[in-house]
């Protein structure tokens, strides 16, 4: 194949990023995680239906953003470590254990990796918790947003978040935030994945494009 007639598309050499919107919010009795589904390599959309909410344990999930490969690998490694850990201590792992494991990897390899994971889940000691682990820091927060689309909704979440929402209100809040971000960020789009975790387990849901709420758009 001659280079002049069919030049290699740029996106083949671009790193595959999950330019993304991810969000995790605590409510009274659990957490709700949400993400969009677009994976981009430069200007091309490589996957328009990727689920960026990946399970670390039965009641602990993490939301991936940044480089797709880095984020997925961290999630897989921590999933394995949590499995071993929960068998050794003969109990479900705490959310802060999962978050610390993610933080340890993110911090140790911070020069090589570029991924930001939000870890959220439910455990019996402290209930629903959300941890942000950007570049190797670790903080517990009532809610956290991440990814390129999150910049557009900072004001929205700050204004609209309330403590001790019910499960329904929290799910609506997450879907609204995702929709607004996907509407303005070129690297976010597709469908919205929502995972709700409480003491009874984790429930995954996919909200298709035409079911997303409609905001002012001319």
């Amino acid at each position: 194949m001659s280079e002049e007639l069919f030049p290699e598309p740029e996106w083949l050499s671009e790193e595959v990023k999950t330019g993304t919107t991810i969000i995790a919010v605590t409510f009274d009795g659990g957490v709700v995680l949400g993400s969009d589904s677009r994976v981009s390599a430069g200007e091309a959309v490589v996957n328009r239906v990727m689920n960026k909410l990946s399970p670390l344990h039965d009641k602990i999930y993490c939301a991936l953003s940044g480089s797709a490969a880095d984020a997925q690998t961290i999630a897989e490694i921590v999933n394995y470590q949590l499995d071993v850990h929960s068998i050794e201590v003969e109990d479900d792992p705490l959310v802060c254990s999962a978050a610390t494991l993610v933080k340890n990897i993110s911090y140790k390899y911070k020069e090589e990796l570029s991924a930001h994971l939000i870890v959220a889940g439910w455990d019996k000691k402290k209930g629903g918790q959300v941890y942000a682990t950007l570049s190797g820091l670790l903080t517990s927060q009532p809610f956290a947003i991440g990814g390129s689309g999150s910049f557009y909704i900072n004001g929205f979440v700050d204004a609209e978040y309330r403590k001790n929402m019910t499960k329904r209100e929290c799910q609506e809040f997450v879907v609204n935030a995702l929709t607004l971000a996907m509407g303005r960020d070129g690297s976010s789009g597709g469908v919205a994945y929502v995972v709700t975790i409480d003491k009874d387990g984790a429930e995954e849901k996919c909200v298709l494009g035409n079911e997303l709420p409609k905001f002012f758009d001319q």
Binding site: V89, L94, C96, S97, T100, L101, N104, K125
Partner: protein
Amino acid sequence: MSSIGTGYDLSASTFSPDGRVFQVEYAMKAVENSSTAIGIRCKDGVVFGVEKLILSKLYEQGSNKRIFNIDRHVGMAVAGLLADARSLSEVSREEASNFRSNYGHDIPLKHLADRVGMYVHAYTLYSAVRPFGCSFILGSYDEDDGPQLYMVDPSGISYGYWGCAIGKAKQAAKTEIEKLQVDERKTCRELVKEVAKIIYIVHDEVKDKAFELELSWVGEVTKGRHELVPKDIKEEAEKYAKVRNRSSGDSHNKSSLQHGLLSYFCPDRNPWRRRMTLMRITCKQCCKPLFCHFTDCVPCFRHPGNSQLYCRQ
């Protein structure tokens, strides 16, 4: 004691024909030679008490502690070879610290006991090393899981307990602990006095002269931190213990006797011709029952020239 397990007791990597690893049993004997340590769990914490024998008047008070802090919330009381115990306390500290660094929270006590037990067990597998000659009791308090108490012995097994004792007077101490009927009802403050009393009771004043009592606790009263019992509470507990001991000990010169099961093998018997018949004898002095595992050997070889039968620990 030369004919016990002849040939099969030289290394920990050899079983005897009747399925025992003698080196591990000898290690447990080393623990039984040391002075007593007890740990008791109550509704809101754990209390440790150690009878620390003072071998020389020149020792500084408080030296050679036998209670260690493993993590903020975990304490360890030991019996046996103190140097082995110190090395194991370092191992436990590392385990607890690594756990916190990897997982972000305090190590659950059962997990710590399992991990240190595994380490102790590893030294019972090879002929190049000897088993650790110490047992230890680990205790902790957590708001959610409550108080916990585990004991690890030289074979590497760990057990969870309400109350346990290790060392030379462990049988007598266990009897006393059972009498306490410790369960959900007592608090740490009441238990400190009882622990001091038990140590004073099991201390043998004839054989071992001076001793120092080490007391420590961890529980709601210390907000989950393992600490030595404060001086004023300790003095109060010792006063209580001395009074109680004096009043119950005069009946038959109790301080020179300790009651317990005789379950060692008589050194003069050929192990191949051993007949294990349980013979019930009573101690002439206190009329408490003793058991001998041999049909016709003298149970108390501590007093071979003496025709009277005493019980011994």
